[in-house]
Symmetry: C2
Subunit: 198 residues, 2 copies
């Protein structure tokens, strides 16, 4: 599989150009950004796009894979931080920051078929579970919260600020803090539903 002879120099450059242009274009126009526009933005012909990525979905998958890997690496690194509570908060902060700079959340579901993505994402999810377990053991968050809970809530701060036109760029911090307060042991009320699994 993937004999992977190295790309020609110009081809490699074009591929990188394309990935960046596509990310920008998707961030600006959403899922319906057209392949033609992406090609124009990257300064290449439309045919070149399809040479590198057989379908539009493949292009999306490549972008998603990049981002998941970055986040996963950060999470792994934070597993060694001294304070488990702040480590978790830092991870959530970084995730929100990544999304604030470029909101590509609507691309997530695209890569569910590509094994490389589900694998990388699974690894990242496992890391989050570890971060959460550490924080819980340390008493930084309440007992009835699971890693899955945190995975789900992770994206909420950016989501809610999306409804504010011309929101200050750091507004998501307000809602991350608010939600994180809900995760703390103090003042916790019993939850009406069991946690889900992914």
């Amino acid at each position: 599989m993937t004999p992977d002879r190295p790309l020609r120099a110009d081809a490699a450059r074009n591929r990188a150009l394309l990935l960046a242009a596509a990310a920008d274009e998707f961030a600006e126009k959403g899922l319906e950004a057209s392949v033609a526009d992406i090609a124009r933005r990257a300064g290449v012909g439309k045919g070149t796009v399809f040479r590198h990525f057989p379908t539009k979905d493949d292009l999306i998958a490549a972008i998603v894979l990049d981002r998941v890997e970055v986040l996963g690496a950060l999470g792994t690194h934070l597993l060694d931080a001294p304070d488990p509570g702040t480590a978790l908060l830092e991870f959530l902060t970084a995730a929100a920051q990544q999304r604030q700079q470029q909101d590509l959340s609507f691309l997530q579901e695209a890569g569910d078929s590509l094994p490389a993505i589900v694998e990388s994402r699974t690894r990242m999810y496992q890391t989050i579970h570890n971060l959460v377990d550490r924080a819980r053991d340390h008493g930084a968050i309440r007992d009835d919260i699971t890693g899955t809970d945190v995975i789900l809530l992770m994206c909420a701060p950016n989501y809610v600020t999306g409804y504010v036109p011309d929101a200050p760029p750091d507004l998501w911090r307000r809602y991350l803090a608010l939600i994180f307060d809900g995760l703390r042991p103090e003042g916790a009320h019993p939850l009406p539903q069991p946690p889900p699994t992914l």
Copy 2:
């Protein structure tokens, strides 16, 4: 404006059929549900759709208006409830329930041009502000939370459960409870950003 001669009986029936079919179709397929499919589902010709709603956006606007009105009426009613804290929670529960039954959140931005919608929505937002003020005065939620905060957080429970495949239908209640715990006075930490305005 709108001389509004009453609709012929069959036309009124078709209009209602169309609205229901469109809501179902959008809920199933998202924004890109086609007008042709909506017409088929309602059992009418495509031309009939455009007779009632000059553009697809007008159709969307009509749906959105309906839902906003329903929610606004409920909020107004809850202003008279005895306990302000549970009144607010009940409102949030109802909003989440509406969205759980049929997620049409992606249609929201469509009606921003239609004055009737922004007016109705503004009224509903004002009601939420009143509900929140009452709850805050009563000590049910922390001092640094505004009505706008609640408006933004309102949709988060459904949003986060959207990431769970085959989620139990009441899972949103878990996250509503969790977020609501973050709004409570107990264990509140200072928030890093001022509240936004809409």
